[in-house]
C-alpha cells in the first residue's frame, strides 16, 4: 500500500529510506468497505484523505435529495472544508467502492514536517497545483454546456463513467438523470453515424 503513495510522491521528490520509514510508522493506511460513510453533515472532523485505491464521493442532502458534487479517485486528496474552518460539515463523504486511503490530520502532518521540512515544501507545491486546477475545473463548469461537460469528462476521466452510478454522475454534471440518459443516447447515435 505504501508503495502507491511513495510512487506518487516520487514524481516530486526522491525519498530517503528514513523518510519512507517515518511515514510507514504513522500507520496512516486504512481500508474501507463500499458504502462506508466517512463524514456526515453536521459532524466536526479534522481528517483528510488521500486515495490509494477506490473512489470517494462528496454529496449534500438538500430538500431530502442527494446532490453529488465531487469524486476523488486514485492519487487524489480531499481536505473537507470543516478541517480548515473548524465548523460542522455541510456535506457527506462516502466510499463509492471498497477503498484504501491515507488518513491524516494537521497534527500528524506537523510531526512529519518537523522531522522532514522538505515535506512541507512538497505539500505547499501540491496544494498550489490543486488550487489552480480546482479553479480551472470550476471555470470549465461555468463556461460549458452540460453536453460539453459530459464530453470533457469522457476525455479527462473516462474510468469515472464506468465506476459510479448514473444518478450520481448526472448530479455531478449539474443535470437530471433523465437528461444524462438522453444525452448519452444521442452521443452514441451520432458517433455510430460518424463511424458508418
Amino acid at each position: 500500500m505504501e508503495e502507491k503513495l511513495f510512487d506518487y510522491l516520487s514524481k516530486y521528490i526522491e525519498m530517503t529510506d528514513e523518510e519512507k520509514k517515518a511515514i510507514t510508522d504513522l500507520t496512516i493506511f486504512r481500508k474501507y468497505k463500499k458504502g462506508t460513510i466517512l463524514l456526515k453533515e453536521g459532524q466536526y472532523s479534522d481528517t483528510c484523505y488521500f486515495v490509494i485505491k477506490g473512489c470517494l464521493r462528496c454529496y449534500y442532502i438538500i430538500d431530502g435529495e442527494e446532490k453529488t458534487t465531487a469524486f476523488y479517485t486514485e492519487s487524489e486528496s480531499l481536505n473537507p472544508l470543516c478541517t480548515v474552518n473548524g465548523q460542522r460539515s455541510e456535506h457527506f463523504v462516502a466510499c463509492v467502492e471498497d477503498s484504501i486511503l491515507v488518513v491524516s490530520n494537521a497534527e500528524m502532518e506537523e510531526i512529519i514536517f518537523r522531522k522532514f521540512p522538505r515535506f512541507e515544501t512538497l505539500c505547499r507545491i501540491l496544494c498550489e497545483e490543486l488550487l489552480a486546477k480546482s479553479r480551472a475545473e470550476f471555470d470549465e463548469f461555468k463556461t460549458s454546456s452540460p453536453e460539453q461537460r459530459y464530453l470533457n469528462l469522457l476525455q479527462s476521466r473516462p474510468d469515472l463513467l464506468q465506476r459510479v452510478p448514473q444518478y450520481q454522475l448526472a448530479s455531478f454534471l449539474g443535470i437530471t438523470a433523465q437528461s444524462l440518459s438522453r444525452m448519452r443516447n444521442r452521443i452514441m447515435v451520432e458517433s455510430s453515424h460518424n463511424a458508418a
Copy 2:
C-alpha cells in the same frame, strides 16, 4: 501599501521587523489602471497576484463571447493555472478597477522561504484554506439555482454587486444579463412587498 499586506498576514503570524523589511525590499507592489490586461489567453506566465486594493477579473473568450468566471478583491490571491502547469493560459486576467497588487512568482517566494522558513508554513496553511473554500464554492454553485446563487452573493460579497458591470456578474452567476435583470427586479418587488 505594505501595511495592508502585513495586516492580512498578522491574522496568521506576528511578523518581525526583519521579515517586514525583507518583503518590502522585494518591491512587489504595483499599481495598475482600470482596464489593464494582466494576462492574455495564449500567453505563458509565472506571475501570481494578491489584491491590496481593487478588483481583478478572470474571463474566457469563447466563440467570440466573454465569459467571466471569477473576481478577486481585497485580500484575495490569484495563481493562474499557467503558473503551475507551465502551459499557455486559457483565460484573461484584467483589472476591473484601478488596483494595487502584490506581484510575485515562485522564484521570489523561494528567496523569502529560504530566509524565513515559517513563511512557507504560512503559505501552505493559506493555500489549504483556499483550496477547501474553492471546492466549497464550486459545490455551492452546483447545488444552487441561479436565484440562490444571486442571494448568496448578496450575503457573502455585497460589495461586488456595486463594483462590477451587470453583464460580467451575470456570466459569473452562470446566467444571461436578461435573466439577471429580471431576477433583480423580482427580488426587489418581493422585498418591498415583504417590507410593506
